[in-house]
Symmetry: D2
Subunit: 335 residues, 4 copies
């Protein structure tokens, strides 16, 4: 297996997800951890290995760096993409590309000018259950796809600072479901209708954002899509898919801490609580996403989950936000 | 138990549902079966008992008739309500009251002028599982109600003649979910958004109607409601509810032909197919609805499921239809 | 439907099960309630109707009595069977026939001499789920039957007086599973092996009885049968069957108080507790058993669940008790 | 992590299980593959790496060999244990130790004389679900343990040559359940009762062996244990546990090829078939067992699953075989 030397860009929450996964992958080597503040880079390198660096040009010029994994704050993604593309380094970038379509356009232009392998970290595509459901749909197990539904309910609202910087609930979270469902359906909506509400954390409402939404996508084939999002969920991280076709239905199951069935005085039959949040639930999918990146780069092919996918998902999410604000069906503007 | 002599108005599909249920109820006696065409009345009376009559005035003047059950074509409901109200007879009327709000207003005026006990046959409220879910919500089992979802997928599209006379999918079918969900939530929407499509039977699309819809209701409390309707469903009559609150979630289960779990080479664990359609699935609820009617009339109280509920459900269904046509959020106009 | 006038013999626990069921059946009329102590008979007649009588000869000579339902203490069953048979009355007798094989032989002799329709109240055969499992086996759904398993765990130990009079756990309770499983398998064991223990109520052990047992039946076909009994069960009345064949497996499900699925912080997915005990769980089966009796008597055929079935089940239960005592495989002695 | 150089003894079926697992473990290095026939050793070394060797003394004298994993035919286990113990090498030995108690005694004597770390490959203890069930029992989740049940039904009978060399079904297969259940219960039976039958493969019966058995263990605490074994199972490799205590019950679930729920015309709700056989179902547990071995050896402590456990399980399995032959309860003879 060909080994790629990786420069991990960033030392925040997502970098702590990718660091251990890079180490666990036999074809990836954590070569560099980059942060413009060297102290942060050093601290992360102490945890995960690799050389701490704070000089971007030096990182991108380093012959031991075969590819970059961008896990920096969202508003810096495009800058790093431009720099890495110019340097000719294959790029794995955590989602979303950016919160603004014009900046996403800039990233896409850079990738056209400097065509390096690029992969966007829509990790839910790489979850084995989500992928198995898509396979079942593609195999025709349920006939023609008519309806698609996704639930993504988070255990508890994020800190209000996170919300403020998030670009809004649709851009921050619904975008995951949007990408996943368009990928399963094999098409993108002609029109979206969305409704939002704020019932869990009034601070979120005070910021003009929602903490629960219901979104409808109308697909060119006629298929209808429902997305169910909530910033709070008493029973854990509720992640479900339901695909309904003229031949039947297929659903994914939630994941739990163990596989036991419990019978007791209070409640029978009971199962353990759900996986707490995305780190626990999608642990495997981050690894699988890096594996796809590795396979594509070493196999000389474009990774799945492209920049264009990121542009489309963002355009749809922004259309959802507009629909929720105006009460009108909105057609997303694709590139 | 006080026995009520019932005049069953009509001899069509729904009359064949109510006839045996009236006979099975110890407090109801099938006294008269009415149809303006005496041959039809006689045929039904041969099946279910009771005297066949074709003279409306005579029926309503008959001292053995304590109450009427209206199971005639929808566009005649209001006329029979007016006549029965004037005659002072308690009325059970199959849903919907009518397809036009103005005619529903006429019925409500008649009931104001001649205040007889009146019950609208929203039978799904009387399904034990639906009622148990509402009880769980009312008991506070899931805390504050945030989201409510209903699936109603029918096994196969009705004849096109039925569709033509139905008033459209929202008025014909979604109205059931609307009433049920408003009853569970204890509130009615301030705004609705709906999307429709036609993917199963092109004849339905040619009539300007939909055969699958997704509907969103925005409630005054902030709660969001999703209704999922389809005129076809390969695996039977899919009837599910999901209530999501800040303390948890509660769901109803589909009903099956038996309670066995099967393990075999092809598929494990498997259950039998779902109940075929509403006659099989809601068999008990029609009985329970008549029982509520009997208890209210003999107990000298207003039955639940009022004419005003029928007006509200129709107003919401018409708003859904308008939203699906215009792509705009629509506020229902309540009486 | 032909109506049978019933004399209900006895006013104890089981009589209170049968009284309301007789009243609910359209083809049965509770004509007489008999107890040698007239005060008890009168009290029961006040509850369920019928004439209170204390004179056995008068009851059996009463022309309005078409059949008897024997729900007296077990050790009087045979006497009443003999008397009713001599009087030519069809007999429904609560299980067990008796605790001693020689007395059962006496009952069988009486029925040979006076051949009236006789049915033994092995009500679990008439439970819809148990019957559906047997049908699935008979239809060949699982191919050839290889293993059969039954769980019957009671919510809590009975009063010690009940235990003392019960004939022992095998004769009192395992006999139900024995009859049900032999009926499903269509054969009776050539040999049994049983093990017992006392872990819940030391008083039961002090009486020389067990409060939990595991029993193995070896069938002539080679099929193996496991019976799992317990006098206590924290989560309710656990009643399950599992039939394993060379083509697959079929299982019954436990019954619950409602059909909802609950998700909360503590335990997800959770279902409500099981039905508490046999009155709740087998409510329908008692009615169905009486219905079989009615259909057989009015249809002029022998009811299923014969006296010979009762003899066989008792012989097997006694063999189990001997095996548990001696640690040896025991061959039951059939009539 | 300290790395152990491993000599893998044997190149048969189980060696092909352990080879890849040794390679996957970061603390194990496949140093040598041994087979007295060098051609077989070379072939295996080509697949999994390591040096092919055919000289036992040279293997055990090799300073790069820190420990041995014995995966040779069962009847050679004891010889290799004696040799490796004399050479002072830590030993992991695939189960069973041997089919005869006297030879097992010899192995135990060798381990007493040359006390090296020794672990017996009772891999099912290391399955996460089985371990979680034991933890739940130990934590007191179900109160006092009263009953324990294990199902192990294999997809199809092994070749008759395998059966002939297996030592009989109890010694070959039931021994797994015996060890697992004694480990969960924390005690060993005072008496066993077993029944066997041959309904799947008449060749197995012709060898005097069974292809389905039901076994009962009576524990010193009073707890009763049921083991359900079958050499064939139409729906895959059925592996279940059920622990019943005075506070409730806990069960493990079978494993499947995917986590999807399927609804279609024929059967709803359906899940995919079970994992085919032990290689698929217990894939993880073999890795975990090696991990326990690594941790114990490098951590200077005795591994769990001792030679004495192997002796006890064999003694119980032999007692089961005797009980099934004689129809008598048999007390196992422990060392």
């Amino acid at each position: 297996m060909q080994t790629l030397g990786i420069a991990l860009m960033g030392t925040g929450r997502m970098a702590h997800v990718y660091g251990p996964k890079i180490n666990a992958h036999p074809g990836l080597r954590l070569e560099v951890i980059y942060n413009p503040r060297i102290a942060s880079a050093t601290k992360a390198a102490d945890l995960y290995g690799g050389r701490a660096m704070d000089d971007l040009d030096a990182v991108l010029a380093d012959p031991a760096v075969d590819a970059v994994v961008i896990a920096t704050p969202t508003d810096t993604h495009v800058d790093y993409i431009e720099a890495a593309a110019r340097a000719g380094k294959p790029i794995y970038c955590e989602k979303p590309l950016d919160q603004s379509l014009s900046r996403v356009d800039r990233a896409m232009a850079a990738l056209r000018d400097h065509p390096v392998p690029f992969m966007l970290g829509f990790n839910r595509r790489f979850d084995p259950d989500n992928a198995a459901l898509r396979e079942a749909v593609k195999r025709g197990e349920i006939g023609r796809l008519n309806m698609l539904m996704s639930w993504s309910r988070e255990p508890s609202p994020p800190p209000i600072e996170y919300v403020r910087a998030s670009g809004g609930y649709f851009v921050d979270a619904t975008i995951h479901d949007i990408d996943l469902l368009c990928w399963i359906a094999g098409e993108r909506p002609v029109e979206v209708m969305a409704a939002g509400s704020c019932m869990f954390d009034p601070q979120i409402g005070a910021e003009g954002d929602f903490d629960m939404t219901m979104t409808t996508l109308k697909m060119p084939s006629g298929a209808l899509v429902h997305i169910n999002n909530s910033r709070a969920c008493a029973y854990g991280f509720d992640q479900r898919l339901e695909a309904f076709g003229d031949g039947g239905m297929v659903q994914t199951l939630n994941h739990r801490d163990d596989n036991l069935v419990r019978w007791d005085k209070a409640r029978t039959v009971a199962r353990e609580p759900l996986k707490h949040f995305f780190l626990e639930r999608y642990d495997q999918s981050f690894y699988n996403a890096l594996d796809e990146f590795h396979a594509a780069v070493t196999g000389n092919r474009a990774p799945s989950a492209t920049a264009e996918d990121g542009h489309a998902a963002l355009a749809i999410a922004l259309a959802c936000a507009e629909s929720a604000r105006t009460g009108r069906a909105v057609a997303p503007e694709f590139a």
